[in-house]
């Protein structure tokens, strides 16, 4: 009897205690899901801005005055999401350094719900079927569907946009976009028109004073620009032809590109992955093949250097540029089994696409967001628009991106003009870099995935970068061989002369003391 009583009390206690624990242990008893996001390094606002960094642009999305990053974007998303859903999300945010790095990780079995690779890698993932389309509700006119509402029609992948032909409409959501060009210091140029062409990279006037990206795709594109330079500039080439010229991967083109790149290798200061930014800012090099977003970063850095402020410019070579974008895509093996994760992933894209957040990211990383809308346009005006008392201003037309009638009153001194009609040509400063004018856009092509030509192009790249044993001159081989022989001979003579390696046997009549 007694034992029964005790056990009954114990059981009751357990039940009571258990439920109490459940209540007190976490005040918020909603289910928590994990969202695995993988993005480029340094490609999202990490918050922690100073107060004076406040962007004084009207913010209709939060209660704050202006736009400022106090917490990191990921934390803000978690808070925002958790405040209006019946379950909670926790973001596992990781980063990658190159598209190939991400792809290798995916093929080794890493699982992410949503990733943000570049255009060609998106196409590769789509071709391999490792994706889930964005749901219909993502495109509905719901108030919180910020991406559908604010993405620029120019870039959304739908019919009429620049990427319409590439079949990622509704499968991916564009995050940042830009062009490939040359950042340069106008004061150090021999001839101001040198930056008009990709030939700058092989121009002996700038021997060891320009850098190129240490990346086979960007280097190959520049080489093709040089290869086709004369033809493109002297003929009226249609966009289709331009695209096929700049995406040529036949053996003959690859061989020609190899020669050009070998020539470039002798001429450039370095093949760089990241060091180019610092070398450009500190003035070690005059020009630098660069993505537009990093170009903005470099220009901002160079002009804010207090002791040695320099005004750098960005040029989109007249032959052609690679228009690229990085976009969000939901991976099949990540989100497949969970409706909630689908929702969270789409909410994440919507949150980073909310115009005030797009501005935060643009400010923080320097790249150009896919998001149009008045907030972003106002931010551009706030940043780069001319002061009211500025002397020489003009209306910079951005209607292709922000819609009809969108212009910014800009300082004429920050652009290069065609003298007669005063149209902006291929050069300018930050505003030009972030939103190139229509005529630059009109000669931009999308660089496709190399597909099964990758192996051959990579072999070409190895040929460029490696020392070929056939190329070594006999004189060099002779000198090296002679030096090695002498060193070996000295060591051997020494060793035998003093019998270093010989066993030391006691001489006759002597014996070894143990």
């Amino acid at each position: 009897m007694k034992i029964k009583q005790i056990s009954a009390i114990l059981a009751a206690g357990c039940v009571l205690g258990g439920s109490l624990l459940a209540f007190s242990g976490c005040a918020d008893e909603r289910e928590e899901i994990v969202l695995r996001v993988c993005n480029w390094e340094e490609y999202i606002d990490l918050g922690d801005w100073d107060d004076d960094e406040l962007i004084e642009v009207e913010n209709i999305f939060t209660d704050e005055e202006g736009i400022i990053g106090i917490n990191s974007m990921v934390d803000d998303f978690t808070e925002w999401f958790n405040s209006n859903h019946d379950y909670k999300v926790r973001v596992e945010y990781s980063t990658f350094g190159t598209n190939e790095d991400l792809y290798n990780r995916l093929s080794l079995g890493d699982v992410y719900d949503i990733v943000c690779p570049s255009d060609y890698m998106l196409m590769k993932l789509i071709a391999e079927g490792n994706y889930v389309e964005f749901s219909d509700s993502f495109w509905s006119d719901d108030e919180e569907n910020y991406y559908a509402q604010y993405v620029s029609r120019y870039i959304d992948g739908a019919e009429g946009s620049i990427f319409y032909d590439y079949d990622w409409n509704k499968k991916a959501a564009c995050y940042m976009w830009g062009t490939l060009g040359l950042v340069y210091n106008p004061e150090s140029l021999v001839d101001a028109d040198d930056v008009k062409s990709w030939n700058m990279l092989a121009n002996p006037d700038y021997k060891k004073q320009v850098t190129i990206k240490d990346n086979v795709r960007d280097a190959y594109f520049a080489a093709l620009g040089m290869l086709n330079s004369e033809y493109i500039l002297q003929n009226d080439v249609s966009l289709e032809e331009l695209s096929s010229l700049m995406n040529a991967t036949d053996s003959q083109t690859i061989a020609k590109a190899e020669d050009i790149l070998k020539n470039i290798k002798e001429n450039v200061y370095s093949f760089e992955t990241d060091s180019g930014k610092a070398d450009m800012v500190t003035g070690k090099v005059i020009a630098n093949e660069q993505w537009s977003g990093d170009a903005v970063y470099i220009m901002d850095e160079a002009e804010s250097d207090e002791e040695n402020a320099t005004e750098l410019w960005y040029s989109v070579p007249e032959e052609c540029t690679d228009i690229w974008f990085d976009g969000w895509i939901k991976l099949k093996n990540g989100v497949e089994w969970s409706e909630q994760r689908h929702t969270a992933a789409e909410a994440f894209v919507n949150f980073v696409s909310r115009p005030d957040n797009a501005v935060r990211n643009m400010y923080y990383i320097g790249y150009t967001s896919s998001i149009a809308g008045d907030t972003v346009l106002e931010y551009m005006d706030y940043n780069y628009g001319a002061e009211e008392d500025a002397e020489d201003t003009f209306e910079y037309d951005l209607s292709y991106f922000f819609g009809d009638g969108a212009t910014i009153t800009a300082n004429a001194s920050e652009f290069e003009f065609d003298d007669e009609e005063r149209t902006v040509i291929n050069r300018g400063r930050q505003l030009f870099t972030q939103y190139p004018p229509q005529n630059v856009i009109d000669r931009s092509v999308v660089m496709l995935d190399f597909g099964d030509r990758l192996a051959q192009i990579n072999q070409m790249w190895i040929n460029v970068r490696c020392l070929d044993i056939v190329d070594i001159s006999p004189v060099t081989i002779g000198i090296v061989a002679a030096v090695i022989l002498v060193v070996v001979a000295v060591i051997l003579i020494y060793a035998f002369r003093y019998r270093i390696f010989a066993a030391h046997k006691p001489k006759k009549g002597y014996f070894k003391v143990a």
Partner: protein, 265 residues
């Protein structure tokens, strides 16, 4: 209650687990990839590719030249330094020794970044001398690894041997050539091993000092980034075998010498 007891062999378990997970298992994967093609079929093609490609052989030669020159420069700088530190009666020589080891406490990318600025000061445009800069960078990086073994072997050298040699009429040069140098061979060998092998693959130094020619490490990386695991793995494997042979040879020398030294003493 008795305390937990481990036998000696049980104490090895953590290391054995580590070894299996992070050394043996990756090695098996490398061997697997090295002898298969993209479809997972067994093949010797990667092996043939290695020796058929003049680029790979050229890169191997370049890596070796870079490593050998670096090692020689390190040796030439380190030997006198270690000798002076170990043999002379400088006061506070431990402070001096510390000064040589001190750079190792600073992260090496930081050191190379600083070196880049110093070299720019002397050379102007540093990208004009890629080979020289790579040698300087690696020497800067690996010098302590050469000094320390030399210092240790020179320091424990028995003074009475040197005195005996002098007493028997040898001049200073002869003493050095016939006693000091032979007895420091183990130090030289271990210093050489510690510098030669890492400097064959340390491509970060080359990258940071703008040498755009590939060495073995960067070549492997470039295969991996084009999803060609097979050729990349074969190069890694062959490099591993070369390093293994070098280690084997140097070990033979140093062991034999250690025995000889035992015989002398």
């Amino acid at each position: 209650m008795k305390g937990l007891r481990f036998s000696r062999s049980q104490l090895c378990i953590p290391y054995a687990v580590f070894l299996i997970l992070f050394v043996i298992a990756p090695l098996v994967v490398i061997v697997y990839y090295a002898f298969t093609n993209g479809e997972g079929q067994f093949t010797f093609d990667n092996f043939i590719n290695f020796f058929a490609s003049t680029n790979t052989l050229g890169t191997l030669l370049y890596s070796f030249s870079l490593a050998i020159v670096t090692t020689l420069v390190c040796l030439v700088i380190a030997y006198p330094t270690a000798y002076i530190l170990a043999r002379s009666n400088i006061r506070k020589k431990y402070v001096l020794l510390l000064l040589f080891i001190l750079p190792m406490w600073i992260n090496f990318t930081l050191r190379i970044t600083a070196l880049k600025e110093i070299l720019s000061l002397f050379e102007g445009n540093i990208s004009s001398y890629p080979f020289l800069n790579s040698v300087i960078g690696m020497t800067y990086d690996f010098l302590p690894f050469m000094i320390l073994p030399l210092y240790t072997s020179l320091q424990k050298l028995d003074n009475s041997l040197l005195e005996a040699a002098s007493d028997l009429g040898a001049n200073k040069l002869t003493v050095f050539l016939r006693v000091t140098l032979p007895l420091s061979v183990p130090g030289i060998i271990s210093g050489v091993t510690m510098v030669l092998l890492p400097s064959m693959t340390n491509y970060v130094v080359l990258d940071m000092l703008y040498n755009s020619t590939y060495i073995m490490g960067s070549l492997i990386g470039s295969y991996f980034s084009s999803y060609d695991w097979n050729n990349g793995s074969m190069i890694s494997l062959i490099l591993l075998i070369i390093i293994f042979i070098v280690t084997l040879v140097t070990n033979r020398f140093s062991d034999k010498d250690a025995n000889n030294r035992g015989a002398i003493l």
